[in-house]
Every structure is written in structure tokens, then in C-alpha cells.
């Protein structure tokens, strides 16, 4: 087994475990912590896939900004932990689980067709996934989507400010 395989397997186990814990935990703060662990393991998976810049951005944007925002809001609201683990009674929950298993089985049917010769990784050069190569592609072939993403973020920022703002006295 190569180092990459060990790293990827470990990260996969951590990712699945933390994802399960996100759903299982009652407290939103603990869930958020496990989600951070999940994002970290996915960053390691990106590393094993040759996405060096991608992994750094994953930590910087997802773990460093989005999840901090989550925790900040959870702390700001500080909701009392809910008593029930799931929203519905045991029957509906069981049926949902059954549906989930069915959904997973149908997904896996598609995934399994990748096994064997059709699912080998292409061999790539040293510069695969480097900052320069990703940046060049982003600013040439994907320039318009990139700018649109900027506009999207601007709209989201304005929207967030408008939504979360307390109304000043005298406004309706």
C-alpha cells in the first residue's frame, strides 16, 4: 500500500464517521464541529487527488469562513438543545431510512459500473492542480462563470445584510 492510499483510506473513514455524527448529534454546536472534521478529511482527499490549491482553499473557505459563520450564528442564537433526535416518530423515521437505503442502492448500481478498467486514474504531471494551472484555466476558459460567481457573492452579501438587519425605529 502506498502512502497516498493509506492517507485516502484514513480520510475516507474519518469523513464517513464525522458525516454520521453530524446527523446523529442533538446539539448544533457538536454537529458543526463534526462537519469541520468532515471538511478537513475532504481536504485531505483533495490532496490525494492532486488538488493542492483546492485543498488549501477548502480549508480557507469552508473550514475557515463558512463554518465559523455557522458557529457564530449558533452562538448568537444559542438555541436550547432539542429533546428529540429526529423530526418524526419511529414509523416515519424508519420509512425514511428504508427510502435512504433504496436511494443508496440505486446510486451504487451506477457507481459500480466504474469498477474495473473503466475507472483508472489518468497519469498527470507535476503541475496538475497547482495554483498556476488552476488560475490559468479559471481566468481563460471559465472567465465568465468566475465573474458571475463574484456577482452572486455580492448579491448574497447584500441579501444577508438586508435580511439580518434589525429594523430601525420608525421603519415599517
Amino acid at each position: 500500500m502506498s502512502l497516498d492510499t493509506i492517507l485516502a483510506s484514513g480520510a475516507s473513514i474519518a469523513a464517513i464517521f464525522s458525516a454520521l455524527m453530524v446527523v446523529w448529534q442533538r446539539s448544533a454546536v457538536i454537529s458543526a464541529l463534526f462537519l469541520v472534521l468532515n471538511l478537513g478529511s475532504v481536504a485531505i482527499l483533495f490532496l490525494t487527488l492532486g488538488g493542492e490549491f483546492l485543498a488549501a482553499v477548502q480549508v480557507l473557505v469552508y473550514a475557515g469562513a463558512i463554518m465559523v459563520l455557522f458557529l457564530f450564528v449558533i452562538m448568537l442564537l444559542n438555541p436550547a438543545p432539542l429533546k428529540e433526535r429526529f423530526a418524526s416518530g419511529p414509523v416515519v423515521t424508519g420509512l425514511t431510512f428504508a427510502l435512504g437505503v433504496l436511494f443508496f442502492a440505486s446510486l451504487m448500481r451506477g457507481v459500480m459500473s466504474l469498477a474495473g478498467a473503466g475507472g483508472t486514474m489518468a497519469s498527470v504531471g507535476e503541475s496538475y492542480g497547482s495554483t498556476r494551472s488552476v488560475g490559468e484555466l479559471l481566468f481563460t476558459a471559465y472567465l465568465y462563470p468566475f465573474e458571475l460567481a463574484g456577482v452572486l457573492l455580492l448579491v448574497a452579501m447584500v441579501g444577508a445584510v438586508v435580511l439580518a438587519r434589525r429594523q430601525a425605529p420608525g421603519e415599517d
Binding site: 488549501a56 480549508v59 480557507l60 475557515g64 458557529l71
Partner: protein
């Protein structure tokens, strides 16, 4: 295990030993420097009883905190309460892994040691080192939030809310202040950035980024003061309002871990400023045979870093504390815009081929 593998592991262990020993000694002695320098500025003596000039004071402090009672408040979330100090300390210490302390690797045989090991001047050679540093800095927020949340008491919660808001706000300005350097150097690897600052102008002005990007440096300096929660921006732990902020409920070794985090983050940020804007380990015009070159460069790096650490202490006893709304206004309405304009101007100059 064959000899080649042993050699590789040995090399990694030695460079980790060098850098982390330096960092932890630095952290310990920074507490002493802080107390002695503040005493000097206020015309007092400061701790000078333990050892010559008080040099053993950090050891005494550590021993004292080790033997203190470790209190967990009854309203605390026990597991997260223990996890929080660990989660602040690890990213702060990890950030030293990518900072280069000298130019070329050194061979241990040059120092008269029996092993033929090449010791690189950094622990990890990462091509996105600067992004890693920024990412680790943003991960430090977690420990602070969790410390405030898990203490189950009001002052820590308030302090944690304040410090999270402050750290998120100033992170943006910090990133934008650094970007002009990346633009002109064309690399996110810290060693490449340091190497690009070799040489001089007119034979005496060193080719340091601070002379190319004075505004970038200024913005970085201000945001680092805010990121480290140092005076004049130490509102998260403003003692008249919030007791000690997010670590109010912590005692004994857990408290020490917050303290160590503060100082190691300070040293890391000072080292970052030196690497990005003051030539890192560069000593202009110096050429020496290998073992000496490495030692002098590492010494120069330490001296430059110490200057900024001294600056942190100096500013602490010079400027009064900001109000919280002033702090937020400065971050979002002044610093962020100025950093953006600076980046825009540099980008245009680079595009025009001037830089």
C-alpha cells in the same frame, strides 16, 4: 529500515526539533520580555528575582500553573471545554511548519557532527504555504468560539462573540494586504518570496518588499494587531468590561495553553511580516562559507522577528484601547477599502509592466 530512510527521518526530526525548540523557548521568554519591557516603560523593575535578571521566571511560572487546581465550572460542556484550548494551540504552532528560517540547507557535518544529514531551513516545503498560513490563522477562531460557548457563563460568551467577529473582520484586510506581495513575486511559496528579496538598490537600500509595498505592510501590521487581539484592539479580553474574555473560566494548564497560543501566534505573525516584507532571512551583501551563512541568516531572521515582538509590547503601553464600534468601523469601512485600492493599484501597475 535501511540507511536512506533513516537519513530522511533523521533530517525531518532534526529540523522539527530546531524550529519547535526555538518557538517554544521563544514563547516562554516572550512572557518574560513582555513583563520586563512593560516594567521598563513604566519605570518599575519587573520580575527579576528568579535567576539572573529573572531569566528563570518562565520556568517558575510554568511549574506554578502545573501545580494549580484545574477547575471545570459546573455549567460547562466538559468535552468541548477540554477540546477548546487544544484547538487554539495546534494551528498557532503548526503555522511555523511553513516559515523558512534561512536560505540554503545546512549539512550537519559542517557543524562538526558525525551525521551526513542535509537540514532544510523549513519543516514543510509547501507551494501554497501562504494559503496554509492564512487557513491556520482562521482555524484559530474555533478554539476561541468553543472556549466561550463551552464555559457556560456570560463573560466568556460575550468575549468569544467579540473576538470571533473581530478575527473574521480583520482576516479579510489581512489577506488583501498580503496579496500585492504575491502579485509582484508570483508565488505563494514563502521561501520563493524570501529569495525574491535578495540584493540591493543603489548598493545600500535592501531589496525588501516593504519599500515596494509600504501600504500593504501598514495594513498588514494593523490587521495583525487586531488578529492577535493585542492592544489597542484587545476588546475580547478588555478586563474592565469582560473580566478576561473567552478564557475567563480557564485555570491551570488549560489557561497556560491560551497564553501560549497568544504568544506563538504573535511570533508566527511577526515572522510572517518579516518573511513577506523585510526580506525574511536575507542579510544584504553578506557572503560566508556554509555553516556560518546558515547561522547568521537564522540569527538575522530571529533578530528581525524580535524587533516586531518588541513593537507589539511597545505599542501595548503606548496606545489606549479602541471602542468596539470604532474597531469594527476601522476594519470594515476603512482598512478593507484601502487594502482593496492598494491591491487594485498594484495589479494595474503589474499589468502595465511597471512592477
Amino acid at each position: 529500515m535501511d540507511a536512506a530512510m533513516l537519513k530522511e527521518i533523521g533530517e525531518i526530526v532534526v529540523r522539527m526539533l530546531i524550529i519547535f525548540t526555538a518557538v517554544f523557548t521563544g514563547v516562554g521568554y516572550m512572557t518574560l520580555v513582555e513583563r520586563r519591557v512593560s516594567a521598563w516603560m513604566q519605570d518599575r523593575l519587573g520580575p527579576n528575582r528568579v535567576g539572573p535578571q529573572g531569566l528563570l521566571q518562565p520556568l517558575a511560572d510554568g511549574l506554578k500553573h502545573l501545580m494549580k487546581e484545574d477547575v471545570t465550572p459546573p455549567g460547562a460542556h466538559r468535552m468541548v471545554f477540554i477540546l477548546a484550548p487544544i484547538m487554539v494551540l495546534i494551528p498557532a504552532v503548526l503555522s511555523f511548519a511553513v516559515i523558512p528560517i534561512a536560505g540554503d540547507a545546512i549539512n550537519l557535518q559542517d557543524l562538526g557532527l558525525p551525521w551526513d544529514w542535509q537540514i532544510k531551513p523549513f519543516i514543510a516545503d509547501v507551494s501554497v504555504g501562504l494559503l496554509i498560513l492564512l487557513g491556520l490563522a482562521s482555524l484559530e477562531v474555533y478554539g476561541v468560539v468553543l472556549a466561550g460557548w463551552s464555559s457556560g457563563s456570560k463573560y466568556p460568551a460575550m468575549g468569544a462573540l467579540r473576538s470571533t467577529a473581530q478575527m473574521i473582520s480583520y482576516e479579510l484586510a489581512l489577506g488583501l494586504a498580503i496579496l500585492p506581495v504575491v502579485l509582484t513575486t508570483g508565488s505563494l511559496r514563502l521561501q520563493t518570496i524570501a529569495e525574491a528579496q535578495a540584493g540591493t538598490w543603489f548598493g545600500f537600500v535592501p531589496h525588501w518588499n516593504v519599500f515596494i509595498h509600504p501600504f500593504g505592510f501598514l495594513f498588514l501590521l494593523i490587521s495583525i494587531f487586531a488578529e492577535n487581539k493585542r492592544l489597542p484592539f484587545d476588546l475580547p479580553e478588555a478586563e474592565p468590561e469582560l473580566v478576561a474574555g473567552y478564557h475567563t473560566e480557564y485555570s491551570a494548564m488549560k489557561f497556560v495553553m491560551f497564553y501560549m497560543t497568544e504568544y506563538s501566534a504573535m511570533i508566527a505573525n511577526a515572522a510572517l511580516m518579516v518573511t513577506l516584507f523585510f526580506g525574511g532571512w536575507q542579510v544584504p551583501g553578506l557572503v560566508l562559507p556554509q555553516p556560518w551563512m546558515f547561522l547568521v541568516q537564522a540569527g538575522a531572521f530571529a533578530a528581525k522577528t524580535f524587533f516586531f515582538l518588541f513593537l507589539f509590547v511597545w505599542v501595548r503601553w503606548t496606545l489606549p484601547r479602541f471602542r468596539y464600534d470604532q474597531l469594527m468601523n476601522l476594519g470594515w469601512k476603512v482598512l478593507l477599502e484601502l487594502a482593496f485600492i492598494n491591491l487594485l493599484v498594484v495589479a494595474m501597475l503589474v499589468a502595465a509592466g511597471v512592477m
